[in-house]
């Protein structure tokens, strides 16, 4: 308690205006024996913005930045969509991330998956995400879970998450995820891609959006089966998903409730469908 008080005094004394420079953030962490995340929360609660977020500030206020930091977001799938989603959530400053994926990097991932490099081939995707997040934003904690999501393990894994982000590549598993999110009363931000095309929607608790989107028999075949995925489509759809997460965390704007965006990058069209 006294440590926190001393740390707060230190932060207020060393702030430049209401910005907390990185070097003082790091010093406070070592000097007072606090994690980078604890210092970040203390700063935000004291009305200080860690200077790394200064270009957010016309968009996101200090109190909203605190809400983002206090948020816990699970990303299910760490491939094409997941990599970009994790990167953006970590830079946005979401305090707790949980990344779920059973796979290791393979050569055919290198065209698009953000954390895949030749050196990482054969290594778990969640491990790469873990390292990357520590590197780019040490105030953020990422919990790497190397397993295949299912209805059986889903409750334990997603327990405590405020928002879940769909970055899966399987329609049947998506439907299980949507069911688990509804039972846990957690909003699910859905995204899917294939070739030049993608879609985004947000399912709030009680809604059946995913079941409506994927209402055909289980032999359903998405466009990605024939087209694969180029580098830019996951980046576009991941960014739209992160914008949804950000809005849900700060309670601003109009999320994609009961509607889905259909994105066509070949003809540059975005169309809204009701659900």
């Amino acid at each position: 308690m006294q440590t926190m008080q001393e740390a707060r005094t230190f932060l207020l004394k060393h702030a430049e205006g209401d910005l907390l420079p990185w070097r003082h953030h790091v010093f406070a962490s070592t000097h007072f024996g606090l994690s980078m995340g604890q210092v970040e929360r203390l700063a935000l609660e004291s009305g200080l913005l860690p200077a790394r977020y200064q270009r957010n500030r016309k968009t996101i206020s200090i109190s909203q930045q605190l809400r983002i930091f206090n948020g816990s977001v699970a990303i299910v799938g760490c491939g094409g969509l997941g990599g970009y989603i994790i990167e953006q959530l970590a830079r946005l400053g979401v305090g707790r991330l949980t990344a779920i994926d059973p796979d290791v990097f393979e050569e055919h991932n290198l065209n698009r998956q953000l954390y895949s490099t030749p050196a990482m081939l054969g290594r778990p995707k969640v491990e790469a995400a873990h390292h990357r997040v520590r590197e780019i934003n040490p105030a953020v904690t990422l919990d790497p879970i190397k397993c295949a999501f299912s209805k059986t393990n889903g409750f334990d894994i997603l327990q405590g998450s405020d928002i879940v982000v769909d970055a899966l590549d399987s329609i049947p598993v998506r439907l299980e995820l949507a069911e688990v999110c509804n039972e846990l009363n957690v909003p699910l931000v859905h995204g899917a891609i294939g070739g030049w095309y993608g879609q985004v929607a947000t399912q709030f608790p009680g809604e059946q959006t995913l079941r409506k989107i994927y209402n055909r028999p289980s032999n359903a075949k998405g466009v990605e089966k024939g087209l694969g995925n180029p580098s830019f489509t996951p980046a576009v759809v991941a960014s739209l998903e992160v914008a949804e997460v950000c809005k849900l965390l700060i309670g601003q704007g109009q999320p994609l409730s009961r509607r889905k965006l259909h994105i066509n990058l070949l003809d540059m069209e975005i169309i809204e469908l009701p659900y």
């Binding site: 030049w196 095309y197 055909r216 990605e224 469908l273």
Partner: protein, 74 residues
């Protein structure tokens, strides 16, 4: 009767984006899918005038029918 058929994403390849087409009374959404050789397991959504419809839905003169493929990758 005349129906405006709009195809989206991959369904445009080798077909069309939007076309005003002539159908006989009683034609259903499923008939159009069959005519255009669009396999059921690849269909993501079918809408008439912005409302979701099933394959057995009959078309009316002046309808706008939109057909979207399924997207499921990540």
């Amino acid at each position: 009767m005349k129906v405006k058929v709009k195809l989206f994403a991959t369904f445009r390849e080798g077909r069309f984006g939007e076309e005003l087409r002539e159908y006989t009374a009683g034609t259903t959404v499923g008939d159009v899918l069959k005519e255009l050789n669009l396999p059921l397991e690849e269909i993501g959504a079918t809408l008439i005038n912005h409302r979701h419809v099933e394959e057995d839905q009959p078309l009316q003169d002046g309808d706008n029918l939109s057909i979207f493929p399924l997207v499921g990758g990540g």
